[in-house]
């Protein structure tokens, strides 16, 4: 059992609260990704689990044991740092074996564990090299190897792919996913990249300003965001938000004569200010639809198979719509956008999602 259970965790630096009442359970063998904008406290949370940051209050349990006051080495965790943090004066073998040597592991066992990790990570030909003789991707693998040999209960990854170039990042992402399957390890992974979060996670924890905004399976967060922040953070390009007023039942006014008649959640009161959210990929062009907005295309970004049209509405707001294939649309053209009613999210004034 290597479950991580965090209850009411708070951390402050003087008067500044970095983590506020965090509750989080990482089930045995699951891959949990902490994601959020920079400064949201996700790295601090990870470092608190690792024991590199003392916490102000609350408890951290790893494998059923409270570890609040244990030093990192006794928490049975292994951390992979963003900068890899390989020991520059030691070769690959020694980098991986270093911690084991200090734990007085027998030499034969060290050998066996290191060579197994090297085999899994295809590092066998590099064992005698120094970190400076390795490429970025190889260093990354050594850093992961150093974590594997310790046979920890929990792996902690702190933005491990940020220092890799785009192509290598995608490769390594797949490698990490495979590794998770192979080792059946419990992993807590920090990233600011929502694509990494979506592709790797069993469970995503979206954080903002020291709080957990929402926890859930990747597609749950995508289809059923709990609030405007999660809706805007998950998905790329980001969801469109249009401010509106509920003019009458099931009727939104956006200003400058732009209106929509659509089914609204029952909790919407007449006169309430709300925000309509719709993802670019849920908008269609041209089709006559029940829920439709007209606008003029400012610019189209074409990525090949798909493109993104920035459409200016008469009230001055711009919404981004996905263009599939090569339809007959061009800059400056007036278009009709069809919104699918199942994919429309309505957020109240405080940002929470209003549901029927």
């Amino acid at each position: 059992m290597s479950e991580v259970k965090i209850e009411k965790l708070c951390k402050s630096y003087g008067p500044i609260d970095v983590l506020k009442d965090i509750d989080l359970t990482v089930e045995d063998g699951s891959f949990v990704v902490l994601v959020g904008p920079s400064g949201c406290g996700k790295s601090t949370l990870l470092r608190s689990i690792a024991g590199l940051e003392p916490v102000t209050s609350g408890t951290i349990n790893i494998g059923g044991k409270q570890v609040n006051d244990l030093p990192p080495a006794q928490r049975e965790i292994a951390m992979v740092f963003q900068s890899y943090a390989l020991y520059p004066h030691k070769n690959v073998y020694d980098n991986m074996a270093f911690g084991l040597k200090f734990a007085r592991t027998p030499k034969a066992e060290i050998d066996q564990r290191v060579s197994e990790a090297a085999r899994i990570l295809q590092l066998e030909p590099l064992l005698k090299r120094r970190p400076r003789e390795l490429s970025g991707g190889q260093r990354q693998r050594v850093a992961i190897g150093r974590a594997i040999v310790r046979k920890p209960q929990v792996f902690l990854f702190d933005e491990p792919l940020s220092n890799l170039d785009a192509a290598l990042r995608i490769n390594t992402r797949v490698e990490i996913a495979k590794l998770h399957r192979l080792l059946k390890a419990t992993i807590v992974y920090v990233t600011h990249d929502q694509v990494e979060a979506m592709t790797l996670a069993d469970k995503i924890v979206v954080m903002n300003a020291g709080r957990v905004e929402q926890t859930g399976r990747p597609l749950d967060l995508y289809y059923r965001p709990a609030n405007k922040f999660v809706a805007g953070f998950i998905g790329s390009p980001a969801m469109n938000f249009i401010d509106a007023t509920v003019a009458k039942k099931d009727y939104l006014e956006f200003g400058s004569g732009v209106n929509l008649s659509l089914p609204l959640p029952k909790s919407c009161k007449v006169g309430e200010r709300v925000t309509l959210g719709i993802r670019p990929e849920h908008i269609q062009f041209g089709a006559r639809a029940k829920i439709q907005l007209d606008g003029k295309i400012d610019i189209i970004e074409r990525l090949g198979e798909i493109g993104y049209a920035h459409v200016a509405l008469p009230n001055g707001q711009t919404i981004v719509a996905q263009v599939n294939g090569e339809p007959n649309v061009g800059n400056g053209q007036t278009v009709s956008l069809a919104l699918s009613s199942q994919q429309i999210h309505i957020f109240g004034e405080d940002g929470t999602t209003l549901t029927a």
């Binding site: 690792a50 024991g51 590199l52 030093p71 990192p72 080495a73 006794q74 965790i77 292994a78 951390m79 740092f81 963003q82 900068s83 890899y84 943090a85 390989l86 020991y87 520059p88 004066h89 270093f98 911690g99 200090f102 734990a103 120094r130 970190p131 400076r132 003789e133 390795l134 970025g136 260093r139 150093r146 310790r150 220092n163």
Partner: protein, 277 residues
Amino acid sequence: MNVRKHASAFAVHAVLLAYTALALAPIILVIMNSFKERKAIFGSPLKPPSPSTFSLIGYDKVFGDSSIASYYINSITVTGGTIFFTLLFGSMAAWALAEYKFRWNTLLAIFLSIGIMVPIRLGSVALIQLIAQLNLINTLTALILVYVAQNIPLAVFILSEFIGQIPKDLREAARCDGLSEYNIFFHIILPLLRPAMATVAVFTMIPVWNDLWFPLLLAPAGGKQTITLGIQQFLGQYITDWNSVLSALSTAIIPVLILYVIFSRQLIRGLTSGAVK
């Protein structure tokens, strides 16, 4: 453009060569004259030794004198001891000041930096009293203690700058690997500090080896003289044995030169490259 580039390179080298000549001339003069007869030293001090003026009499006397050998050993002991303890305590203090947050951290750092600004010789009288009370007059321990105290402030200053450059992640990775704070220091920090320590060693070594002041005050007799002090026995009030003085000075260069070569080999930059991106 090319001509101007060459001209400026030439000017730079001319200045450097002139400076080198200025710095080396006295040393060359000493070495040259140490191989000459006494008469030739006075007669034509600027001429290199010729077959008629060549003589090893100075070296014969220096190597024949058993006390000179022990002065060498004293100097080497004092210099080596000073380097060792300065580096050990200096790096430990620098590590503590750079890595740990504790109450008197800043105050201690300022206190140590005062040591760089105030010359230790101002405290000579107090130091003599202290060393006398400790019964350490005429011992090498007294010299080593004073020199370590003299050199630690600068060592801490230089080394803490270097420690600041060692990525924080490395120390934390070591903590996750289960190393104690002492092991982090000895197995991670010290190996990475080698270039900085070599710098400090060179800065420490040369003034200590050449110092005449503290040997004269704290260990002037009892066979505990250092070589710089020991050479003084050849300088008399009425007659000075220049052959021996020059030969002893020439040989005194050798140990410090060897130490310098050893340390300067450590001054390799970029040892940390590859640790973190």
